[in-house]
Each structure stands twice: as C-alpha cells, then as structure tokens.
Amino acid sequence: MFMDKSMKPKIGDIFVYVFIVILVGLSFLGLKTMSVDKGNIRVQIELDGQVIDSLEVWQDGEIEAQEIRVDTGEGGYNIVKISSEGVVVLDANCPDRLCVSSPTIKVPGQSIVCIPHKFVVRIIGESQGDNAVDDTAS
C-alpha cells in the first residue's frame, strides 16, 4: 500500500506550512479585534464555570487601580489587576503561566483564560447580558 520510501518533503507539505502560518496570523488578528460593544462594561471573574466576582468599571473614564487575588483551590492562585489601562493577570502559580503572558484586555468580548486553574476573567458589555456559557460549563 505504501510505496514511496523517500525522506524528502513533497509539494503538498508546503500547503501544510502555509496553512499553519495563516492560522497563526488569524489568531493574532483575532486577539487584536475581539468584539466591539460599548456601554456599561463589567469585568467578570469565573472559576470552574461559576461567576465568583463581577465589577462595573469604566462608565466614566478613570477608575482606581485594584488588585484582586483569586484562590483557585488546591493552593492555586491568580492575581488580577484592574485599572484604567484594562485588565491583566499579574501573577499566577499555574504550570504554563500563559494567563500571565496574555496581553491586557479592555474591550468587551475579550478574555484571559487559565486552563490549569479553570479560571476565566472576561470583559462583558451591557448588551451582551449574562452569557449563556455557564450552563454548558458544569
């Protein structure tokens, strides 16, 4: 069935790599342009699908910077900083620390996710309402 024994790359392999480059480009584009709504904006912190904290921010510009420490159980923690510049995860003791290296988010629809801790912090615009996500998570 398998006749070809060559170790050399073939013409189709190029498509695989082009496809990968396109995917990476799209995801960077997606990170930049995630969603739009204006209006009252809330920062919502979720743990394992449950909303554990929800703060209204930015209705009129400046807000006081605050840091929130979220204990995610089993000794895990994520520290979230909310300020005028947006929301960012300052520190966490999850193994991959991708949430810490995630860029600052400010626009509704954006979110920072920490898979190991089942931790999500997302920004929600008023028009989006309470999302229907929590039903699927549990």
Binding site: M1, F2, D4, K5, S6, M7, K8, P9, K10, I11, G12, D13, V16, Y17, F19, I20, L23, V24, S27, F28, G30, L31, M34, G49, P95, D96, R97, L98, S102, Q110, S111, I112, V113, I115, K118, V120, R122, N131, V133, D134, T136, A137
Partner: protein, 169 residues
C-alpha cells in the same frame, strides 16, 4: 493477513500507543501546553498497515484509555476531539493525496488538527473563543517540530517493518 494476525497486531499497536502516551507525560517540553504526540506515530503506522477504519479504532481506544492511565475524566473529551479530528485529516491526506504529501507533512497536519480539535473543545467548555487565539500560535510552532519528528520516526519504522519483519505494508 489472517484475522488472528490482524487482531494481534492491532492489540500490540494500541498498547504501544498507550505506553507512548503515558511516557511522554514525563518528558518536559519547551512550550507550555504542548506535547510530543508520540502516539500519533502508531496512528500513522496503523493507517499504512491497515487503513482508515482500523486507524480510527486505534485512535478512539487510545483516546479513551489514555487519560484513564494518568489524567482526569475531562481529559477524555480533549483527547477524543483532538484524536478524531487529526485522525480524519491524516486519513484523507494519506489515502487520497499520498502522492502530494510526505509522511512528515501528513504528521504535521495531524498535529495541527489535534491542537485545533482540543482548543475548540476547550473554547466550548470555557465558553470563550479567546482560548483558541491565545494558545494556537505557540501550539502551532510546537506542531511543526513534533510533527516533522513523528513523521520521520514513522518513515523509519515502516521501512523497518517492511524489510526486517516482513510485514506487508
């Protein structure tokens, strides 16, 4: 190939895939969240030795049993979605477009779609597509490297099976 021989070979392949799945958990990887995907080698060997149906059987059994060896139950969801999607893509590329793709290319495509399947599942579980955007670039980089490596291993393994073990490929 007789029925018994086929059954035995498939059983050996599945157990090898499981062992590979298990020991790769002990191998540290550079990128967070990335894995070597060594079990993918066995999927491709099955694809070459038997065909589509048998390859999917190996993938599904491995994806269900693998997380039970040392993971959580939700791990089954992730490995099943990734495994099935990458199995389908590799089957199509291998069986229909074999002249255009090398095993390294097919393996890389499989790794890419394994990641996509898992990230889509994670997006669904967490309820945000942002997960896809965050994890995809770094996982794609890892997929290029591990995919090429796995393809090469499969190539050598198939040659060995053909020449030394006289298994018809």
């Amino acid at each position: 190939m007789t029925k018994t021989r086929k059954l035995t070979l498939l059983a050996i392949i599945i157990s090898q895939a499981l062992v590979l799945h298990y020991i790769e958990g002990f191998i540290p990887v550079l990128a967070p969240g990335a894995k070597l995907g060594l079990a993918n080698i066995m999927t491709m060997v099955t694809l070459a030795l038997f065909g589509f149906k048998e390859a999917m059987i190996v993938v599904i059994i491995r994806s269900v049993l693998g997380p039970l060896l040392g993971g959580s139950i939700t791990g089954i969801l992730y490995s099943l979605s990734g495994g099935i999607l990458s199995g389908l893509v590799m089957s199509v590329l291998y069986l229909n477009f074999q002249g255009y793709f090398s095993l390294m290319g097919i393996s890389t495509a499989g790794a890419v779609f394994h990641n996509i399947g898992q990230l889509l599942t994670a997006s669904w579980i967490f309820g945000t597509i942002g997960i896809l955007y965050t994890y995809l670039p770094i996982l794609m980089l890892a997929a290029v490297i591990t995919g090429y490596f796995n393809g090469l291993v499969t190539r050598y393994l198939l040659n060995y099976l053909q020449n030394k073990m006289e298994i018809k490929v």
